[in-house]
């Protein structure tokens, strides 16, 4: 994966596939550490599955024999001096937390976070997504339930809405000095 935002799309897609109705996506800068946390209320995993999920040759799919999303994310975290922690419980959900050295030389770039979050929100209208980006001073949160409430019978997946969300997230992250390179 070229940048961290691509990992985010990938892991959120795992949540969608796990039939989650709610996904919490949190990006946090804590001192010298960048934390990316994606939590869902999907079907969760057994302890046995949980042990295997970072093995690139393990997948629950029947269409192919590799599952590379989580192993790639783990690699990106570990090469940045951090780690990937996965907590999961059947029937409760899964939380994937990656910690990365914020200024580590080998940390992949964040990529276009505004674009990523807007595409994830509009691309998965069946899921409620709570996006939070924060550091020790500022915090920005956007919740799709509020967006959908405002839109009423209009679809969150309409291109104009996606572009609006992208611009709104971008402007707020810049304003709050939360833009991560």
């Amino acid at each position: 994966m070229r940048d961290l935002s691509l990992h985010i799309i990938d892991i959120v897609q795992n949540s969608v596939r796990a039939d989650a109705s709610l996904v919490n996506l949190t990006i946090e800068i804590s001192g010298e550490v960048l934390i990316i946390r994606i939590g869902d209320n999907g079907c969760g995993m057994t302890a046995e599955t949980l042990q295997k999920v970072t093995d690139p040759f393990y997948t629950t799919r029947t269409t192919r024999k590799v599952g590379l999303g989580l192993p790639f994310f783990k690699q990106s975290a570990e090469q940045s001096g951090g780690e990937l922690i996965i907590e999961s419980e059947v029937g409760v959900g899964t939380v994937v937390t990656a910690t990365l050295g914020l200024h580590h030389l080998d940390r992949p770039p964040m990529g276009d976070l505004s674009e990523t979050v807007s595409l994830v929100m509009s691309g998965n209208p069946q899921v409620d997504i709570v996006f939070t980006c924060k550091d020790d001073k500022n915090e920005f949160t956007l919740v799709t339930t509020e967006v959908k409430e405002i839109l009423g019978d209009l679809d969150i997946s309409m291109p104009k809405v996606t572009r609006f969300l992208r611009e709104m997230i971008e402007e707020n992250l810049i304003e709050l000095k939360l833009k991560i390179e």
């Binding site: 509009s122 405002i150 209009l154 679809d155």
Partner: protein, 135 residues
């Protein structure tokens, strides 16, 4: 100081958007709109699916085409990523493979706007591994 967009601006945009959509399609049901699904599992993402989804968002908005663009998981055509499924109102869904920026523009110009089929279609009778196993 430049004003930062907020949800209040979305409320304003909604009114404008609703009148435009109502005028053009006289219905808010997605079935009346062009539907684009972009396959966004690891295989698709690594092959550039995000850029393709973004291109569709920008281009369909620029052309004021009533559409909904969503993500979907792996469709089983990992070898042909990025793959997208396009449904034009009243027609069967069509899956396109190996969609790069040039192909995406061609699909919009030729298929979505003009209704002509273009190269790169993954035939509907093509079997994924899952289909074969279920036989």
């Amino acid at each position: 100081m430049t004003k930062v967009k907020s949800l209040d601006d979305l409320k304003k945009m909604r009114e404008q958007l609703q009148s435009q959509v109502s005028l053009r399609v006289n219905s808010e049901t997605p079935e009346k709109m062009v539907q684009v699904k972009v396959s966004m599992a690891t295989c698709g993402i690594a092959s550039g699916a995000k850029e393709i989804m973004n291109l569709f968002v920008n281009e369909l908005d620029r052309r004021a085409i009533d559409a909904v663009i969503t993500q979907t998981g792996c469709m089983g055509y990992c070898f042909a990523e990025p793959t997208i499924e396009v449904t034009i109102p009243g027609k069967e869904p069509v899956v396109f493979g190996y969609v790069n920026a040039q192909k995406a523009n061609e699909i919009i110009e030729q298929y979505v706007v003009a209704g002509n089929l273009v190269d790169g279609i993954i035939p509907a009778n093509y079997e994924t591994v899952k289909d074969q196993k279920n036989k």
